[in-house]
Symmetry: C4
Subunit: 273 residues, 4 copies
């Protein structure tokens, strides 16, 4: 028991453990992105089939509730980014290494594509005005929106998302409330945080999930409201819908990076030089 | 006071206490399944009577909120499974013994049938197009959905539910955040967890309840969206609606078992062999 | 500082402090019942004026959110019952003395009547089909519901509410998670609980508030869905609407008392006699 | 590391640190008010563009979720007032100095105006019946409401908001649950609170956010439902809509001040004189 945990004494065992934690994190990122994107797509496809009154509350509650549940489920496995823009922001602020960041983004894209494929298996295509389910729920800018407005909208929405994530999950300025990031032997760059109720970060999944909820209300009529390039990529590839696809990568990464730096500014403790 | 608690010294008293805890758990499972299924059925029946615009948000919020409240209320009594698929997953992953699992599933079915009967007492039958209230709110696959799609939908939805339950309530990979399961003298197989705010499991009812909420949005137009064989069984028996009843048992158990194993894989700590 | 807190040494100061705590509790109960009933009535009156599509989600979210906020605000002042049926259940289970229970119920009725009066001041009467706002939002059984169904509906809904309150706020079977009720010198009968995140009771306002939310979906088409005699009394007196008024007292008290005893049964620790 | 933290020994470094914490708080107040007001305005503008059924649930959920997320994000930076009425109430109850209060209110107004300007950039004006987006989502009393009703409505709604904020975030009567306000060397007047789960204040953002949610349901048909002069000012200035603008300042400040004193009365511990 106690003795085996103390693997620092055995460098090979420790290395194997670290490798396993990394593999598990990447696979966890794949699984949680798959689940998250599937929830969003299946919710949308379900209501196209039900032909009920279009109710935007449904998408927002589904997204928000799913994010809360999945972040609590995967926070201590992978950090539960499920969004390349979030991973990018952790890279530019040096919370994640470039190598690990690329592995995460790759896993997120695979997960999102799998979600769009399983969507086709659960919602066969002929219910969606001749389109497949994946094409029917793909994200694209509104027809009457110009690209500059859509770009700015995506940038701001992703800024809000990443700012909240960084502020509630990663850093805190209160010396009395330290956020535990993984065990001591693993170092900071695993970007894993506990969601124990004993720290402010215990509430992080609620704050982040609710943010994903309200963001759904804000930009749908302009940019389609993605704030997540993996969500866009999955249905784009499977449904072959590539309208302004580049925009979701550039605007979302830009907003995410800005949020990372902005939060870093506020997290600075203002010590004497 | 203090001395009587220390019942380990008295094996007969200890045995009586363990038996009482088991009886209470089974009765608690009956009561919480009764309440949960009654909430779902009464919500649906109420809105058939009100003849308002069909609003799927209502069912989702009612289900999600009820799950949050009932899991907080019964987690330390029975673990608050209220779903045979959840109990099945705890059996295959050896968190619950077969005997206790069968007792739980029996209690859940009795609770669900009682809920459907009380529904008839509160909503007399002639308001529901000649059907009884129980028949009107029974779950069945959509008429235009093929059984393979419905099966896969039930499987995935139950997978998501059980994965979240296992990830947030039972196991955690963080050594610093131990989930307390009952008192030491009772052993692990009682599958009871505390919802104290001091551990990650304090938030488990919120994560699980929100999951039951968003699942309501995802599969209604295909499988009817049960992800709980007891919910289906109660109104099936009382309302005599047996469409594809077997599917909810096989698909839900299959998805639940897969989720149990998947989460076990991620919960592995990767120690050196 | 430290020395003055230790008022046990001075019996007169201690008695004055206890009297002040009791007065504050009764006044707190008046204020929180006033606020709670005003939120419910103003929400309903606002949507009569707005003439929007009747959306039952609004009432449920408003009620649930208000209960969460007000219980967190008043739990450590008065216990935040704001419902005579809840107070009655704490009396029959000996958590509150008869004297204090009567004072609470009196304060709740005064608060509810004040809420209905202020409603008239903010929503002048001629907008509500010739009725005053208080009469327009008064609770009564549905015209086509028979009294037995309405009675049973009220009884079950109040049972659910009080069971959840007792299970999450007052007692817990886990020895490791003690709920603190007031300071040691005050004794148990003040029925005050802390909502610190360190105990299960920290989540109690969320569980109870969500319960009040989903209960709104369940019985409106039968009993009107009160599960709170004070809510009924306030608008009944000011709006002069007394349909089956006795029922809300008898059915709600009966359901509340049954819930109190049921939860006591489950909270029993099963010690050897 | 350890030694540098102990800046009390170096009065100049300590002064610089205090100045930095104040600057950061004012800038944080600007940023969080900007984000909050932008979320509210963009949500409203988005649904004008989408031309869906008017659904008041959307505004309430968006407001409530945004408040939860932003209070968790900014509570330990600035206290996350984002409302001049809240800041005013902390001034009259001596939690914030007049100087700092004025700086906060200035920052809030700048943030709200920036939000209205960015709204114009993301939602160009010709979609809103010839009005700009800022004018379209500006708050004003209902045409058929008299000013006395609107005034009283704003006063009560702000009273509820500020009472909940004070009761859950700042003061608690339970000696066992102390709310930490900033570090010891900074003194009380920084009005910063931690949202650690270990104290009741960990749930404060949920209670306050839900309050902002349900308040949205209560007064829209009378006063427009602002309970925040900065929200009104931002779109008033950019959209040039000044209907009864003074009312939102006077009524909201009055309600806020009354709530501050009322909560102070209940927070009194009743010690012997």
């Amino acid at each position: 028991g106690e003795n085996k945990d103390d693997a620092v004494l055995d460098p090979i065992a420790e290395q194997q453990k670290r490798r396993w934690i990394l593999i598990r994190a990447v696979l966890g990122e794949l699984l949680c992105t798959f689940l998250f994107v599937y929830v969003l797509c299946a919710t949308a496809a379900n209501f196209v089939r039900l032909k009920t009154v279009d109710n935007p509350t449904i998408g927002a509650i589904s997204t928000g509730f799913a994010a809360v549940a999945l972040i609590y489920s995967f926070a201590d496995i992978s950090g539960a980014h499920f969004n390349p823009a979030v991973t990018f922001a952790t890279c530019v602020t040096r919370k994640t290494s470039i190598t690990k960041g690329l592995m995460y983004i790759g896993a997120q894209l695979v997960g999102a594509v799998l979600a769009a494929l399983i969507l086709l298996a659960t919602f066969p295509g002929d219910d969606f005005n001749g389109k497949t389910a994946a094409a029917a729920v793909a994200i694209k800018p509104a027809n009457d929106a110009n690209i500059a407005n859509a770009f700015l909208t995506e940038l701001i929405l992703t800024f809000i998302l990443v700012y909240v994530i960084f502020a509630v999950a990663f850093d805190t300025v209160d010396d009395n409330v330290k956020v535990v990031r993984g065990s001591k032997t693993q170092g900071n760059n695993l970007t894993i945080y506990t969601t124990s109720g004993a720290t402010k970060a215990g509430f992080a999944p609620i704050a982040i999930g609710f943010t994903l909820g309200f963001l759904c209300f804000m930009g749908g009529s302009v940019s389609g409201g993605a704030f997540n390039p993996a969500r866009v990529f999955g249905t784009a590839l499977v449904g072959n819908v590539w309208n302004a696809h580049w925009m979701y990568w550039i605007a979302d990464f830009l907003g995410a990076g800005m949020a990372g730096y902005a939060q870093k500014f506020f997290a600075t403790k203002g010590k004497a030089n």
